[in-house]
Symmetry: C2
Subunit: 377 residues, 2 copies
C-alpha cells in the first residue's frame, strides 16, 4: 500500500513505528504484506521506511519471494536469546518487537489484547483507529480488475447452480437430478468444485429453499422444492489474490406464490433504486434509506420482518468491509467496491434477496455483476 497514511498517523501521535500481528489471512495483514502464512507473524514499519515482516526461518525463503515487504527471521530479530530468559510468548514477542520497531508504537486495532499489554511494558502504545482499513476501502484500478475477475468466476458458478435447478425434474414435490433428489448440499458442492477449478475458495454458500429463505443466513439443507423461492448467496475468495466477490440470486423452479412474485418484483425495483442512488459523496445511509422508503411505499414495513439488514457493504480482502451501506454509513468515496442487496423476509411466506457488486464512481455505480435476474427458472 501507499504508506503515507500510516506515516501521517504515526507522526500525529509521535510513534516510532506501526505494528501489526496476525495471520496472512487477516485482511489488513494481507494488504500490508501480500504474504499468506497460517500462523501469525509480525509486521512493523518505522516512519518513512518500508515495512518489514518477522517470520520463522522456515518461511524466510518463501516470504522473500512473495511478500511486498522486507523480510527478517525471528533469529535475526533476536528471539532465540530473548526466549532464554522470557518464557511468556507474548512478552517475548513484545521484547523482540520493541527491539526492532521501537518503544513508542502505533498498533493495529486488531492486534491481540495480550500483545498490547506486553508492548505497554516497553513504552507508550496507541491503538490506531483504522488507517489501513480505510485505505483498503478505496481500490486501485488493479484491485478493481482482480475483483471483476472473481465476480466473473462467481457468475459462472451461479449459472451452474441455477442450471441444476432449472434442469431438474419434479416428483412428489421435490426436485430430482439424475434420478436422485436435488439437495442444497449437492448444488453447493457442484458450485464449490467448479470454483475450485477456477482457483477460488467458497464456503457456506447459501442455497436455502422455502420457509428457510425467510432467515437470511440459514445456509439451507435437504431436497429443494418447486414453486418455492430458492436463495443462492455466494461469496467466493480468489486464492491467489485474496479478493472476494459477493452475489445473490433468488429463483423458483416453476411459478411460486403470488406473494413471493410480488416480493421479487419489489426487491428487484429496490435494487435499481439503490444502484441509481449510489455515487461518490452520497452517504451509505441515504442509499439505504432510499430503499427503505421505497419498500414502505410498496407496503413492506420493516421491524423484525421485512427488510432487516443493511442494503450493502464494502467488499475486498474481507467479504464485509468498509464502507457501510446502511443506516450508519457515511459519504461514499470513488473507488470503493460495494454490494447492493435489498431483501424481504417474512416467516411463513419466504424470503427474496438480490445482490450485485460494483464500484462507486464520481457520477454513478459501475456494476461488475452482469448476471440476469429472473425469478422463474
Amino acid at each position: 500500500m501507499a504508506m503515507d497514511p500510516l506515516d501521517a498517523a504515526m507522526k500525529k501521535c509521535g510513534a516510532d513505528a506501526f505494528v501489526h500481528y496476525a495471520t496472512g489471512e487477516e485482511a489488513d495483514m494481507r494488504y500490508l504484506t501480500r504474504f499468506v502464512m497460517h500462523d501469525p507473524f509480525v509486521f512493523f514499519k518505522r516512519r518513512r521506511q518500508p515495512g518489514t515482516i518477522i517470520v520463522p526461518q522456515m518461511e524466510a525463503e518463501r516470504a522473500s519471494r512473495e511478500s511486498t515487504t522486507s523480510v527478517m527471521t525471528r533469529t535475526q530479530a533476536g528471539l532465540p536469546d530473548i526466549v532464554k530468559k522470557e518464557k511468556d510468548p507474548w512478552k517475548a514477542a513484545a521484547k523482540m518487537i520493541a527491539g526492532q520497531a521501537g518503544k513508542n508504537l502505533l498498533v493495529s486495532p486488531a492486534l491481540p489484547a495480550a500483545l498490547l499489554r506486553a508492548l505497554e511494558e516497553h513504552g507508550h502504545v496507541i491503538v490506531d483507529n483504522g488507517t489501513v482499513e480505510r485505505v483498503r476501502a478505496i481500490k486501485s484500478p488493479g484491485e478493481i480488475r482482480l475483483m471483476q475477475a472473481v465476480q466473473k468466476k462467481t457468475e459462472r458458478a451461479m449459472a451452474l447452480g441455477i442450471s441444476l435447478i432449472s434442469h431438474a425434474t419434479v416428483k412428489k414435490g421435490i426436485l430430482y437430478h439424475n434420478g436422485a433428489p436435488l439437495t442444497s448440499e449437492l448444488v453447493r458442492i457442484a458450485m464449490h468444485k467448479q470454483l475450485m477449478d477456477e482457483g477460488c475458495r467458497a464456503v457456506e454458500t447459501i442455497i436455502s429453499c422455502g420457509e428457510d429463505t425467510a432467515f437470511p443466513h440459514i445456509i439451507g439443507s435437504g431436497a429443494l422444492k418447486p414453486h418455492e423461492p430458492i436463495v443462492i448467496d455466494m461469496f467466493p475468495r480468489d486464492e491467489a489474490s485474496g479478493y472476494y466477490a459477493d452475489m445473490t440470486r433468488t429463483v423458483s423452479k416453476g411459478k411460486p406464490s403470488q406473494k413471493i412474485t410480488e416480493m421479487y418484483e419489489a426487491v428487484k425495483e429496490a435494487q435499481q433504486i439503490g444502484i441509481a442512488t449510489i455515487k461518490a459523496g452520497v452517504s451509505g445511509a441515504d442509499v439505504h434509506n432510499a430503499v427503505v422508503d421505497y419498500f414502505k411505499s410498496r407496503g413492506y414495513e420493516s421491524d423484525t420482518r421485512g427488510f432487516i439488514h443493511n442494503l450493502g457493504h464494502g467488499v475486498g480482502l474481507q467479504v464485509h468491509e468498509l464502507p457501510t451501506v446502511g443506516p450508519a454509513g457515511g459519504a461514499l468515496e470513488a473507488g470503493s467496491v460495494v454490494t447492493v442487496e435489498p431483501g424481504l423476509y417474512y416467516p411463513g411466506v419466504g424470503g427474496i434477496r438480490l445482490e450485485d457488486m460494483g464500484a462507486v464512481r464520481a457520477r454513478q455505480f459501475a456494476g461488475f455483476t452482469q448476471f440476469e435476474e429472473t425469478l422463474i427458472v
Copy 2:
C-alpha cells in the same frame, strides 16, 4: 466447555465477567459457543452463569438453534440507543458489553486491541493468559472421535493423491495423467474435491516436488517429476465440527537419489523415536530433543538446514495449537492431540517429512494415522 476454569480465572482477578469478541471461525470462540458466524460477535460469561452471545437480529434464529450459549440480540443488549450517541463502533460495542457483562472484565488474549482500549474507559480490564486455549488442548472422548473421523477422510484423500502419482506415466522427465502433465495443482484439486464431498475444507495442501521440498512451506506448482521426493502435507478441516487433521507423506515415483533414500529412512526412524517417547508427563522439549539427538547420531546436524522446525504441535479447532512439541514445550498431558512430524531439508538435495497425529495417553501415544509410509510408489 466446562466453565469452571473461566470461573476460577475470573475469581482470581475479581472480574465480573469474561468477554471475547471474534468471528465463529476463531478457535476459542468456536469452542465457547459452537456457533459459526463470519462477522465478529460478542461472547460474555458472568461468574457462575452460563455464557451468552450477542448477535444481530438476523442471526438470532440460527444462533438459538446452533449455539451452545444463551442468545441475545444487539437490540436486546441496547445497541440501537447507544449508537445514537456514540458513533465510534468500538466505543459503542464497549458500552453495550459493559452494560450486559459488567465493568471489571477478564478478556480473551485475542480480543482486538481497539476493543480493549474502549472497555478500559468503563472499568478495570485484565487480559486472560490463555485459559480457553489451555482447556481446548485437552480433548474429550467426543472430540477425539470427531478428530479420528477427520483423519480417516484425510487418509482417503492422501490415498487419492498418491494413487494419481503412482499410476502416472513418465515421459521426458515429467509425470503424465490421461495424456496431460500431472501437476501439483491437479493433484491438489483432486484431493480437495474429494474432501469437499466428505464435508471437509482443505486449503493450500502442499504438493511440492524436487528442489522445492527443501523448503517446508512451499506449496508446490507445475509438473511433478519422477525420481524426486514429492511432499504431500494436508490439513483439512471438517466443516461441521470445525476440527482439523494434519498429515504428511513423502513419496517418489520411481527410485530417488541415494541421499534422499537415506534421509527418508532417517526421518521414518526419527518419527518412531518421537512416537515412542510421547506419554503424559514427558515434556514436548524432551520428545523434540530425542529426535534432534537421533538425527545428530545419523550425521544430520541442524542449523538453517537439516531438521529446522518443531517436531510437532497440538491440533484441534486450530491446525496449530497447544501443546508445543518443540524446544519450548512443557509437560504433555493426557488427552492432547499432537502431530509427530520430523523432517530433513537440504537445499540442492531436497526434503523429506512424515507426519502422523494422535492422542497423548498416560502410557503412550495413541496414533490416529494408519496410513503406510512407503517412499517409492
